[in-house]
């Protein structure tokens, strides 16, 4: 179990290319980003802009890159318990119960202690009573909660979320966003969420990193200084959202169409 030590991430001049059969595809180019301990950062961009690749590099799942990616001054080159990850699919093991799934990441701890930690995490994500359920018995939102519990059980320094609510319906999505905020406020773990949902990015992040496409570069970093809980329909929220929208969409002139 890692101590909840620091959790500051430094990325400098990060570049990554994928070699396909014909040519080299630039996925990321010259990314520079600093994330402070306890921050909640949203990374937003189109599909294929490299945001997932960026997250996977931080997670250590891809390590063929150029540049510096360092967690607390240590270069990241492989996955580890200090960086937890929640994927778009819950990736719960179908043959284990919720309790066993959450405990999957815990190792070499006396049974009683394990039970206590696991139960605490399950309560934290609001799944009390579902300890013995199997993943196929859970709804999408509940399964993701279990996945989040599993990711947090080792108290990672950073929690990486790769479009975690992408496969949920709109209402469950909003509920889960509130949930993850609640967990963040309780635990204080540094969180980085990657999403293509601009609303989600603004609602959750203290800063929103806008990535351009192919290759992915940091177009803009928009600070979100709104007090919590944030009102999605307030004027200030809409202002921030508009600033980000502008990065992706330009105002189109609506042509007049005459019809007789």
């Amino acid at each position: 179990m890692t101590s909840g030590a620091s959790g500051s991430l430094v990325i400098q001049k990060l570049s990554k290319t994928f070699a396909t059969r014909e040519k080299e595809v630039g996925a990321l180019a010259d990314i520079n980003l600093s994330i402070v301990r306890g921050e909640f950062i949203s990374i937003v961009g189109r599909s294929g802009c490299g945001k997932s690749t960026l997250l996977r590099i931080i997670a250590g799942l891809e390590n063929d890159y150029e540049g510096v990616v360092a967690l607390d001054s240590q270069q990241i080159c492989k996955p580890g318990l200090d960086r937890g990850m929640v994927f778009q699919e819950h990736r719960l093991l179908p043959w284990l119960t919720v309790k066993e799934n959450v405990a999957f990441g815990l190792a070499r701890i006396p049974l009683k202690e394990k039970e206590r930690i696991v139960q605490k995490q399950i309560d934290l994500v609001g799944l009390t009573g579902f300890e013995k359920a199997y993943p196929f018995q859970l709804s999408g939102g509940m399964a993701q909660r279990a996945a989040i519990a599993r990711a947090l059980v080792n108290r990672p320094r950073i929690l990486l979320l790769d479009e975690p609510f992408g496969s949920l319906d709109a209402i469950t999505k909003i509920q889960m966003q509130q949930e993850i905020l609640r967990i963040w406020e309780l635990e204080g773990t540094t969180m980085i969420i990657v999403t293509h949902d601009i609303d989600e990015a603004v609602y959750l992040g203290q800063r929103v990193v806008v990535l351009s496409s192919r290759p992915g570069t940091v177009k803009k970093i928009v600070p979100v200084d709104l007090p919590r809980p944030r009102d999605r329909n307030s004027y200030d929220f809409t202002q921030v959202r508009r600033a980000i929208y502008k990065e992706f969409f330009t105002e189109e002139e609506q042509p007049f169409i005459y019809a007789i």
């Binding site: 492989k78 318990l81 994927f87 990736r91 093991l93 999957f104 990441g105 190792a107 599993r150 080792n154």
Partner: protein
């Protein structure tokens, strides 16, 4: 299915074709009937052709003749003796194949080196039908039980081996990533991710293996056997007792089905979660 007919309401066209009597039967009865109707029809046609003298008793005896022979063999205890002998042989051969197949399959699946080393041998041996092994089996093991069990073992071994390897190789890469992030030890990973994930394929291998083992019984019992269903068929053929041959075939078919059902039950108990996992 109840249909409320209101004045002027359109009835689906299909409903009009089914008489009320049919519609009023319970669903379970209708379903049972569907299972039974084809075999019954075949039996009726078969009996009809035999009674009309259109097929000679030597070529294919009538169902009634077969049933009579079946009954007399059952009563005399003959059938039981032969069936049990064969089942015992199959279980021994299959058991050995399952043990070796699973152990070897896991080793090969988990180690690329071992996979590359054994690949050629497996690929060359696999297509050789168990029947072709009979001369060697006799030379190596004599004409007693071991040689027959060897043939049955060969029939079951390759399906099991290959399915186990496939099951292990096809461990979902998503779980591999997960295990890396959670720094799960290799042993725990194999125990909690690879093996449960491979179980569906392993069970398929066992089912196919058992079916193959049972099919090899006839071939195996061609090696100077004096009992068993395969021997029964071979011996009856010598004596032109076609009815006994058919009885033997039916027994093989029925026992085969029962064995398959048993494995299916086991499969369901072990991997009940699979049914719902398919959707992912």
């Amino acid at each position: 299915m109840t249909v409320v007919i209101r004045q002027g309401q359109l009835q689906p066209a299909a409903l009009k074709l089914k008489p009320v009597v049919w519609r009023l039967q319970p669903e379970s009865f209708k379903r049972a009937l569907q299972y039974v109707i084809l075999p019954l029809a075949i039996l009726v046609v078969w009996q009809g052709l035999a009674q009309a003298g259109l097929i000679q008793p030597l070529i294919l005896p009538s169902p009634t003749r077969v049933a009579a022979t079946l009954w007399s063999m059952l009563v005399s205890g003959q059938l039981e003796k032969h069936a049990l002998t064969s089942i015992l042989r199959v279980l021994q051969g299959f058991g050995l194949a399952a043990l070796l197949g699973i152990v070897l399959g896991m080793a090969i699946g988990l180690s690329s080196t071992l996979d590359r080393t054994t690949d050629l041998a497996v690929q060359v041996l696999k297509p050789i039908p168990p029947l072709a092994w009979i001369p060697l089996a006799i030379l190596w093991f004599g004409i007693d039980e071991p040689s027959k069990i060897f043939i049955i073992f060969l029939g079951a071994f390759f399906p099991i081996l290959l399915n186990v390897i496939t099951g292990i190789r096809n461990t979902d890469s998503k779980f591999v990533e997960l295990a890396k992030i959670l720094e799960v030890s290799r042993w725990k990973f194999i125990r909690q991710v690879v093996i449960p994930g491979a179980l569906p394929a392993i069970m398929t291998g066992l089912r196919v293996g058992l079916a193959c083992a049972w099919m090899c019984v006839v071939a195996a019992e061609m090696i100077a056997a004096s009992s068993g269903v395969g021997y029964l068929i071979m011996d009856a053929r010598q004596l032109s007792q076609t009815d006994v041959v058919v009885v033997g075939m039916i027994v093989i078919g029925v026992i085969g089905k029962i064995m398959d059902d048993l494995i299916r039950r086991l499969e369901h108990r072990l991997i009940g979660w699979r049914v719902s996992y398919q959707g992912e």
